[in-house]
Symmetry: D2
Subunit: 138 residues, 4 copies
């Protein structure tokens, strides 16, 4: 990872207003086109059933995916999302830890693609899978 | 809308922990398979560029879509999301109001489908479009 | 529609090898960011249940969507697809006609977005809804 | 794989009318929640640029994904698709072989989920990635 990416990662993590909606969000790892973040399913990210809210899962996919792209892009760019999709397979339960693990599929000059698995940390159960496409600039 | 749906709408709106991440979120309208909610792009929902965070847009699609389904389902059920997709066309800018307008495509016994436009309230510009599929129960 | 678009439309319709897999495919209308095509559900496009194959529905979304983009782009460009998604709501039945109706969401210099409804012609029932994002060039 | 699955696989492969649009389509492997199919990019599956048509890629994802689900389902069921998404990363070029490799994410009583990579056989380059959700019955 270039210095520019390292700098951008620091800027990305913990700085956006919306990140404050995810108390305890941790950067586990980010390097060479992969990134992993951890979140505990506390009340602020739960739906009315006490499970991890689907919108919070979307944030995790977006966030981990963007970090992975930054580590893979020559200039450490974050890009702008054009498409995001998610499939939900199992609920994230109250008070357990989930990991969002992103792996870049391709980073080009103008477009970048990333796939993200959201898993239960304790046993690796796949909770959701997402994919994101980003426009990196003209 | 049946009484059951009305009751469930009340339960859905303003009760989930994650909703508190969206200060000022308003229910504009929800009836007969359509729902509309409003959010002002204040600091808590912004990304590092000051625009509405992509994950916040995903929440709006999920939330408006779920409300619309509740109004269309005979038993006012919210279901469980299986698939969510979003295409982002333009940024929601700091301090402007955005509307998420959901319209049910189909509500069956076991599956429900909804399409959601996220627009800038001032001029109707389409900021994002999403679609959600929900499993309603066996 | 510019002359360049008209020329490209002609090139696009009926020329690709894969189109020959869709006997009787008709261009109904294409202008000003919208396009409509018609297909009869004959044996060559059916699945083992005799319904319109999901992959054939994907082709219709891609094809109608591309035609709509060509009519909306200043230079009549078709672009290259980055993302395509589909939700299937009801089957296209043997020997009935289906329409794929595309409507451009946005066409910019580098990216274009289109939404497509696939409906049963006889009664307008929504069979599928799709969305496509295209990269239009640097 | 149960006998029921083996029987269904045979029914699925080579029987649908739409499959005839893919000359030379081969079943490489299908067992234990995974399936792989091969297609040569001949004229009948090409777009006007001579590359593998995006709709043909969608068919490959649907087909390989369905085969994988059949091998994983206790009763060898194929289910009915509710959602399909694709991201296109690179073109399949004329006269090269592509593989669609499906891996089941989860198969439950009522819903099944599968992820599919479409790659260039010669060097493994990822051409597209897709995901499909199927309703397996009430």
């Amino acid at each position: 990872m270039e210095e520019s990416a390292r700098k951008r990662l620091g800027e990305m993590f913990g700085k956006a207003g919306f990140e404050r909606a995810f108390p305890g969000l941790e950067l586990v790892d980010a390097a060479a086109g992969a990134a992993s973040i951890r979140l505990r399913v506390t009340t602020p990210v739960q739906n009315i059933n006490g499970a991890l809210h689907g919108g919070a899962v979307a944030f995790l996919v977006d966030h981990a995916g963007t970090l992975a792209i930054i580590t893979a892009d020559r200039d450490g760019r974050a890009g702008v999302t054009t498409d995001l999709n998610l499939t939900y397979l199992a609920p994230g339960r109250a008070d357990e830890n989930v990991l969002a693990r992103a792996r870049v599929l391709k980073v080009g000059r103008t477009l970048a693609f990333v796939s993200v698995d959201v898993v239960r940390e304790s046993d690796g159960t796949l909770l959701a899978q997402g994919r994101m496409t980003k426009f990196m600039g003209g």
